[in-house]
Amino acid sequence: MHAEKQKHDFEPKIVAFVCTWCTYAGADLAGTSRMQYPSNVRVLKFPCTGRIDPVFILRAFQRGADGVLVSGCHPGDCHYMAGNLHARRRFAAFRGLLDFVGVDLNRLQFSWVSAAEGGKWVDVVTELTERIRAMGPMEEFKALETEECWSGALATPELQEAYKAI
C-alpha cells in the first residue's frame, strides 16, 4: 500500500523538536495509523516545549538542518501546567531576533499538535517539507561553519589536484 515514491533533486533535512506528551504521541499515532508523511523530519523528543532552548534551534541550523519544527501541546494542555505558554513568549521573541539578523522565518515552524492529532502532524510535516524543498538548502549557517575553518577549505580544486598527484 505504499504510495509511489517520488524522486526529488533535493531532500531537505528537517529537525523537529517535539514535546513527549503531545506531539511525540501525535506522531506516534500517525505512525500506528499507517499515515504517510515525509521521512525528511528527524524527531527529537523533549519533556516539554518549555525545555526547548533557542540555542537548540541555532545548533540545528549550524549542523546542517534546512528547516526546524518546534511542536508541543495546545495551550492549556501542558503536562507541566504552563511550559508551552512560556515557550510561546520565548519563541515569539526569538522569531523577532532571527528575523532581525536576517534568517528567513519560513524555515522555522511552530505548531501545536495534540496526542490525538496524527493527521495534523502529517499535514504540518508535509507542508513544511514541501515549503523547504521549494526554498532549497539553508546555506547561511553552513557557510559560517566552513568559513575561516581550515577543514572546510580542504575540498578546493587546487587541493583536489594535489591529492590526485600524490
Binding site: 540555542v55 526569538f94 539578523v101 568559513e147
Partner: protein, 315 residues
Amino acid sequence: MNNTAQKLETATPLDTSCYAAVTDAIRKEASRILTDGTVTAVVGYKAGRRAGTTMPAIVTDPAKATELIFSPACVNNLALYLTKAKKDVVKKGRVAIVAKGCDMRALAGLMGESQLKREEIFIIGVVCAGVKGSGAVNGEPLTTGNLARKCRECTVHTPEGADLTAGTLPSLPELTPVEAEEMARLDAMTPAERWAFWKEQFSRCVRCMACRQVCPFCYCEQCLCDKNRPQAVESTPRPAGNMAWHIVRAMHLAGRCAGCAECERVCPMDIPLNLLNRKMALEMKELYGFEAGLTPVEKGPLAEYKDNDDQSFIK
C-alpha cells in the same frame, strides 16, 4: 556607522554647567552618609590617571569623599559593582551608588530579579546631560558630535526614585536619533541584506567577552557559552560561534536589558550591539507592552505569560 567613526559635521558644544553642581552634591552627600554610618561604601567615579578621564571608585573613608566627581567622561554603569558576580569588590553592608538615569534602570532591573534589595542600597541619582561616546578624545568638551549614541535618545536625564537627586538639568537641544534611524534602515532591508550586515559585523568579533563582563545582567556564575560538555556555543572567535554567541546574548537579555549600552561602549571591535538589544526591547514592547523602566517589576515579560498571548505564528 559605528561609534568611533561617527563624527557629525556640526558639533556644537553642550551645556555642561550642571556637572560641577552634581559633583559638589555627590561629595557632600557621600561624606554625610559615610560619616553618620548610613552606608559602608560609596560606589562612584573619580578622576582617571589621564586628564579628562574618569574611573570607577569605591570610597569607604569620608575624608576621601572629595575624590568623587561627575563629568561627561563618567561613562560606566556602576550597577555592575552591586551584582553577585562582583560580590567581593564591595564590602558588606549598605552601599551607596552614584547612578545616572540609565544606570538606575539597570538597578531597577536587578531589584526586580532579586539581585539587590532596595533597602540595602542608597541611590545618589545624578542629573545627566549626557556622556561621551567611545570615540571621544580625552579632555575635549562634550559636544553634539562626541555624545554617546544612547544619550541622543535619553528619556531619563533626571532620574526618579533615587534617595537623593543631585543637580538640575540644563536645557538640552533636540538631537537626531541616530540609533533609531539605523534601526529603521536595518528594518527596511531584506533578510538577506540584514544577514550580510550582521555577518560582516560579527566577523570582527574577537570573543573577548567584554560585552558579557560589563553587563549588569550577565551575573550568572556559569555562562552557557563557557560550557563545553555539551557545548552550546562554540567558544573560538570563528564566524559560526560569533553569530551564535551574539544571538544567544541578545536572547538572554530580552526583556531584561536596561539599555545602558555598555556592551556597545566596551566592544573593542565597534560592533553595534545595542541595536540587537533595542530590537528585543521593541519586540517586548510590541508583543507584551513591556518597557524597562525605573520601577522594579517582579516578573519580566519572558518570565510570565498570559492566556491570550499572540500565537498567530503557531500553526
